[in-house]
């Protein structure tokens, strides 16, 4: 580039000198070679300009959209962005692992709110997947649950597909658990218990209490069956 500039400066300087010393123009004969050289130069320079135009940044000032109202986010937008993101990178793996841990904490809290597990039992219930009927959710949040066939298949498609599959099922299962919890009465400041009469009761015992007892009984029965199977073995 510097050489081209030097040639250009020299040519211009020579041109000025020729204006004063006309005789110097005679050094160059307007022969075919000279004219062809000038033509080649013009063509090369023209092509350079054309190439610059091709890659040039065409700018225009943006005016924005002041007619639109300010939009606020929906709670969970950031999670959706993570869930739907495709690909495989170190950052995405880290974020997915953190999200998985977060989802597990939410699951434990939801089960505590549902009230059929004691504080010490919640973590074990999530580990063994006994908190839900959904095998995918049980596998995704648990640690002792083998992956179901659907998850194995998605693992072949990529970890992002497997992650998405697990999250969707886990969130659905948590929604169901949360719906159970919302069916439970929650003592308010006055100790009042909603829906403690009418349809909320079976005999003198509220339905949610019966539900909790049934679930706890079913778990104990399952545990006893497992223990019996071990003994037989």
């Amino acid at each position: 580039m510097r050489a081209v500039a030097a040639v250009g400066v020299a040519a211009v300087a020579f041109g000025f000198v020729v204006v004063v010393q006309r005789g110097l123009a005679g050094l160059f004969d307007l022969t075919y070679v000279f004219v062809t050289g000038a033509g080649v130069l013009a063509l090369v320079q023209g092509l350079r300009y054309a190439n610059d135009a091709r890659t040039a940044d065409h700018r225009a000032i943006e005016t924005g959209d002041p007619e639109d109202r300010y939009e606020v986010p929906v709670p969970g937008d950031a999670d959706d962005e993570l869930i739907t993101r495709r690909g495989y990178s170190r950052a995405s793996i880290k974020r997915r692992r953190e999200f998985h841990q977060h989802l597990r904490r939410v699951a434990e809290e939801t089960l505590r709110a549902r009230g059929d597990y004691g504080d010490g039992e919640v973590s074990a219930a999530v580990d063994d997947g006994g908190w839900t009927d959904d095998p995918v959710a049980a596998w995704f949040l648990g640690s002792d649950v083998p992956p179901p066939p659907g998850a194995r298949l998605r693992r072949l498609l990529g970890t992002d597909a497997e992650f998405r599959y697990g999250v969707v099922h886990a969130v659905d299962a948590l929604s169901a658990a949360r719906a159970d919890a919302d069916g439970l009465p929650v003592g308010d400041a006055d100790g009042a218990v909603p829906d403690a009469t009418g349809d909320g009761r079976v005999g003198s015992v509220p339905r949610h209490v019966l539900g909790g007892v049934r679930r706890a009984g079913r778990r104990r029965l399952d545990a006893a069956r497992d223990a019996l199977a071990e003994v037989r073995r």
């Binding site: 065409h58 005016t63 939009e71 659905d172």
Partner: protein, 453 residues
């Protein structure tokens, strides 16, 4: 020649976004003033390539074609950006409308310069909280001394809405250069919409009261309506409170005691942190809007029943109204709820330190004050604040507008987390009104029935 900058009409802070609306961050660093568009870049090639080819091919007409390119290149390079010397006036059909009213905004742009503005574009800085279906922009050519007018309509919502300066662009005829300026309009720049405070049917309060009589039943025996106990007659007890039935039966004088009803001091606290600006969809009012609406219904209801009411915002800025009573106090509360910047319909950019705020709020809060905390519970910290205030002896009631949606896994998960927060607060003994899609009055009636059992 005075453009916006030279004429001193640029906004002092140099803000570029339309009232903080979601804008491309690159726009903030784009240069102001004259901007070459690059539209004619490479025009020299149109001159040089035919000349070069004409020489090489020994074809004189091609060399003449090159002359055409020289003319174009000269036109593009010689054309300068037009001087932008305009005056803009803005007029609002009603600067203090009621919520929901349509307000017509009219802009007049006059070319005060000596030259023609061949391509003038003006985009008004509509406040971010206001929306319009009409275009708030104009594209025209303007001769010296002439005025162009355009108008659009906005629907008023609560708040003091300030217009941004008008974004004006002027291009030269070839479009090779643009001049860009933000020009403050003369005339109306603020629309103030203050809704009337409308009381709900009743607002259930907790037992923390003052010594003044009111409507909150207490566990103290005395004058009132609901029976509390009987005690031995004391000289001076009013005759209407003597238990005459017992006197007739046993001949002993005794006095009836009723639950004393006393007034409460209530501070309505609105969570207006940036994280509380949430909505289930773009059409719905955001959670801060709904919280302010709840406060606007609670404040007059409490004042009507003789309670002392204060207002505060859990948000950047010092938004506090000391507890008080009376019509003047109600007017101050109305003004604060309607127009205080901390409760604006769009979030503030100010830095906010929540722990410092809680410490200061506690110092400011009267010892016998209850807290009505309006928050969508967007995070665990909001629940922590409610529990902490309750633990300090300020009976807390949470009114929580629900901003969650359930159309995607992420949205459903956010809903579950919020429901868990509600459960946690309730199990800590704090009343929570989970405000869904029904009206607040309906939800309050339902909650009142539940809480009074």
């Amino acid at each position: 020649m005075t453009d916006g900058a030279a004429g001193g009409r640029e906004p002092a802070d140099g803000s570029t976004g339309a009232n903080g609306r979601n804008v491309d961050p690159l726009e903030r660093i784009r240069p102001r003033g004259v901007v070459p568009t690059g539209r004619w870049t490479g025009m020299a090639a149109l001159a040089l390539v035919p000349v070069g080819l004409g020489v090489l091919l020994r074809h004189p007409p091609l060399v003449l074609v090159g002359a055409l390119g020289v003319a174009f290149a000269g036109y593009a390079r010689g054309d300068t950006a037009p001087d932008l010397d305009v005056t803009i006036e803005r007029e609002l059909s009603d600067p203090t409308p009621d919520p929901g009213d349509e307000v017509t905004v009219t802009l007049r742009i006059r070319n005060d310069g000596d030259g023609v503005l061949p391509d003038l574009r003006a985009v008004d800085g509509v406040p971010a909280a206001l929306a319009t279906d009409d275009p708030a922009r104009l594209g025209t050519a303007l001769r010296p001394g002439r005025t162009a007018t355009f108008s659009y309509r906005v629907t008023a919502i609560r708040g003091a809405h300030e217009w941004d300066p008008v974004h004006v662009l002027a291009r030269n005829p070839s479009g090779s250069r643009e001049r860009d300026a933000r020009i403050d309009a003369e005339g109306a720049t603020t629309l103030r919409c203050a809704p009337e405070l409308e009381a709900t049917a009743s607002l259930p309060l907790r037992g923390l009261t003052t010594v003044y009589s009111g409507r909150v039943p207490t566990d103290v025996g005395g004058a009132g309506i609901e029976f509390h106990s009987t005690r031995e007659y004391r000289h001076g007890d009013p005759a209407k409170r003597v238990n005459w039935a017992r006197y007739a039966r046993t001949g002993e004088l005794s006095t009836l005691e009723f639950r004393e009803e006393r007034a409460a001091t209530v501070v309505v606290c609105i969570d207006a942190r940036e994280g509380a600006y949430l909505a289930p969809d773009p059409e719905s009012p955001n959670a801060v809007e709904r919280s302010v609406e709840a406060a606007a219904q609670a404040v007059p209801a409490l004042l009507d029943s003789g309670d002392r009411v204060g207002v505060a915002a859990f948000a950047p800025g010092d938004c506090r109204l000391d507890p008080g009573v009376g019509d003047d106090h109600a007017a101050r509360a109305r003004e604060l709820l309607a127009t205080h910047p901390s409760l604006a319909p769009t979030p503030s950019d100010e830095r906010f330190l929540p722990t410092t705020w809680v410490r200061r709020f506690r110092r400011w809060l009267p010892a016998d004050a209850q807290v009505l905390f309006c928050t969508p519970l967007p995070d665990d910290y909001a629940a922590t604040v409610a529990r902490r205030l309750d633990a300090y002896g300020h009976a807390v009631t949470v009114i929580s507008p629900d901003p969650t949606a359930d159309d995607t896994p992420g949205h459903r998960l956010a809903g579950i987390e919020r429901a868990n927060r509600v459960s946690r607060l309730r199990s800590a003994g704090i009343r929570v009104l989970d405000w869904g899609e029904e009206s607040l009055a309906t939800e309050l009636e339902r909650a009142d029935a539940r809480w009074s059992r």
